[in-house]
Amino acid sequence: MTVGYLADSFDLLNVRDLDLIAQARAQCSRLVVGVFTDAYTEQLLGRPPVIPFAERLLIVQHVKGVDEVVVHDAATTTTDGVHFLPADRLGAALPGEAYLQILVPTRGTSSTVLQDALSTADVDSEAAA
């Protein structure tokens, strides 16, 4: 039995997230999903999430193929099984990880409002402005 681990913010849950979950689930028999805390989302993506942590957690719990949901923050250092890392979340790679697999998102929302809300902020240029 292969255990897989996939972590992301799952903010404003959309078809990109569902694609990643499906890709990960297709390669394991039990999928544990990590949900980034609000602080970790801001640290990694340069902006706070739109939806607060507790609500993102509740929703991901009810997505088909998700077997368990856990908290993922800056203190998370290890996972069980294969870590499926989204290609646009490489900053969330864990130190010394042995079983890492990059997942390339094949879908994205066509809603420009969602795209804008979920875009990764350029922290440096914002600080300079």
Partner: protein, 144 residues
């Protein structure tokens, strides 16, 4: 037993836009799921939503359908083209229709109850907060 499913299974139907799916939506679906054996979710088209609320959704229909389809508490998803729920019932038979209690005792609620009663379907109201949440989300996104 009402409806025409011919079994003791209670089939529920809950229509909505499910735009920018959030925890208010999830709570509605969880509550509806508790009150039936099989839950069918209707997803209202962009055009029908505009007709009813004079605004278009943020997320297009195909993606709204996909998100709802991937929830473990949802058994079936269909497209809901109009405010006429007899049209939906002609395509999928259900025993109970779930609706927010902001419709209870209003002319449109009375019409819905009469339409549904004509095919043996009851209307089950519950506290409805999704609209408020969606409106809040829209304003948060507009401010970003």
């Amino acid at each position: 037993m009402s409806g025409s499913t011919g079994s003791s299974e209670v089939v529920g139907y809950v229509p909505g836009a499910w735009d920018m799916f959030h925890v208010g939506h999830l709570n509605i679906l969880l509550r509806a799921r508790e009150r039936c054996d099989r839950l069918i979710v209707g997803v209202v088209t962009d055009e029908a939503l505009f007709k009813a609320k004079s605004k278009y959704p943020i997320v297009p229909l195909a993606e709204r359908i996909e998100v709802v389809s991937q929830l473990d508490i949802v058994d079936q998803v269909i497209t809901d083209f109009s405010s006429n729920k007899l049209e939906v019932w002609s395509r999928v038979q259900f025993d109970v229709l779930f609706k927010g209690d902001d419709w209870r005792g209003t002319p449109k609620g009375d019409k819905l109850e009469a339409d549904m009663a004509s095919v043996g379907v009851r209307v089950n109201y519950f506290p409805y907060t999704a609209h408020t949440s969606s409106t809040m989300l829209r304003s948060i996104l507009a401010d970003r």
